[in-house]
């Protein structure tokens, strides 16, 4: 299995990369980040871009920084860097926790957060986490910049709001607040594999009462699923095991579960209910930041 031939561009600046995307819009041009999803697709020739723009040499696309109430992560920051970042551990405990389920060591060494989010695999953890945290994705083309909320970013399997001439240039994630609690739960065939079902939970409290909730699922539909039915069961009341069970039961009623190679629809439905309930209970008991 070898990729089809393509032309490679290696820009040194973001401007150059964006100009290349504009110039080659008609060709099947793709941005190359860490390549850990795109290259296997090219090896299988499922993807046959005629031009690749390698983003490796653009320093502006790397790094993690604090920006007021937000953490800004540039897209070419590699998974291992995000996982090991003290800033992420302190301000984004849900991201840190979910990283225990993201791929294997060797894949995290080269895979990037931006590449992962843009690839939009429906069973991938980070798109789901960004949904639960209400992250913003900053998209840029040669002439303008726009911000798309994570919840509007995913349009279908492997399909996002990124236009052919745009790049994801920044991921902005709200810092965890003192009254917030988090948990992430997943079932996969092997550790590090994509999720058969996964759930990311953010709960904000006013005393004992749940003030707001962000719950998202991965692996159960063509995009990350914003679990509105589960959130509605929790907001405005104390969150106890009964409420968690009700939230999980209401949520699975809103999804048409499908089977796949390793899992029946019935099992996915069961596991999703259990994971939602478990994640909510664990979030309530999780330590304050």
């Amino acid at each position: 299995m070898k990729p089809a031939a393509f032309d490679l561009l290696r820009p040194d600046s973001l401007e150059e990369a964006l100009q290349a995307l504009t110039a080659h819009q008609e060709a099947d041009i793709k941005a190359l980040a860490g390549g850990q999803s795109l290259i296997p697709m090219m090896n299988f020739r499922v993807a046959q871009p005629s031009v690749l723009v390698d983003l490796e040499r653009i320093p502006d696309l790397r790094g993690i920084e604090e920006d007021g109430d937000w953490i800004s992560i540039r897209p070419m920051t590699r998974h291992f860097e995000v996982k090991a970042s003290p800033v992420v551990a302190k301000h984004l405990p849900l991201v840190r926790e979910a990283y225990e389920h993201v791929a294997h060591f060797t894949i995290r060494n080269r895979g990037t957060l931006g590449g992962n989010l843009s690839h939009a695999d429906p069973a991938s953890e980070m798109p789901c986490v960004m949904n639960a945290l209400d992250a913003d994705f900053v998209l840029q083309n040669a002439s303008s910049v726009r911000t798309v909320p994570a919840r509007e970013f995913y349009l279908g399997p492997f399909t996002t709001a990124i236009e052919p001439d745009e790049l994801l240039v920044q991921i902005r994630i709200p810092k965890a607040q003192a009254d917030e609690r988090f948990a992430f739960e997943e079932v996969s065939l092997r550790k590090g594999d994509f999720a058969m079902s996964a759930v990311a939970v953010r709960l904000a409290f006013d005393g004992d009462v749940c003030r707001s909730a962000g719950i998202a699922l991965a692996g159960v539909a063509g995009t990350p699923v914003h679990a509105e039915a589960a959130e509605a069961e929790l907001v405005g009341q104390p969150v106890n095991p009964d409420a968690a069970a009700r939230a999980a039961s209401s949520m699975i009623e809103t999804i048409v579960f499908e089977g796949s190679a390793n899992i029946t629809a019935e099992y996915r439905r069961h596991v999703t209910r259990v994971l939602i309930e478990r994640a909510i209970i664990r979030a309530v008991a999780s330590p304050r930041i």
Partner: protein, 161 residues
């Protein structure tokens, strides 16, 4: 479809070549440089047989274009043993513990184990399993591979005390 000029260090030697952009690092190592110790199994990033170190970190050579790592330093399984043929302690441990049978996956396991040990990885079997979780072996059942890595990690722990 013009070639891309790259210059990189492979097992300590500087290599300059013009390569097709679609050339995978695994094929570059095996075909252009004759370093056939890097094995090609699945060619889509699942088996780990082609694992090498790029700038000290393990990477799938089949999920990397040679042109992507212009300027980097690559280590392959050929870079482990001395020219005299003397094995590294890790390679000896694999031999002594029967950490290989057919040997197809071994180069990949040796490279991820190297990364793990260089980072000061412990002899804890669960941690070792996590470190090698991206590599597949169809012969050994992994126990003997974990034995081999644990042996070297345990000795390194003792030496640090």
């Amino acid at each position: 479809m013009s070639d891309t000029s790259i210059k990189l260090t492979v097992n300590g030697e500087v290599v300059s070549r013009a390569v097709e952009p679609r050339l995978l690092l695994s094929d570059f190592l095996r075909q252009d440089l004759g370093l056939t110790g890097t094995h090609v199994g699945c060619e889509h990033g699942v088996c780990g047989a082609c694992t090498v170190l790029i700038d000290g970190r393990s990477a799938r050579a089949c999920l990397t274009f040679a042109a992507q790592i212009d300027g980097s330093s690559v280590e392959t399984v050929e870079g482990l043993a001395k020219e005299s043929g003397a094995l590294t302690p890790l390679q000896e441990a694999f031999r002594d513990s029967h950490g290989l049978q057919c040997g197809f996956c071994t180069p990949g396991f040796l490279m991820v184990a190297n990364e793990y040990l260089r980072a000061g990885g412990s002899a804890d079997r669960q941690e070792i399993r996590e470190a090698i979780s991206g590599n597949i072996c169809r012969c050994t059942g992994y126990e003997t591979i974990v034995d081999a890595i644990a042996k070297v990690a345990g000795k390194a722990q003792d030496d640090r005390r």
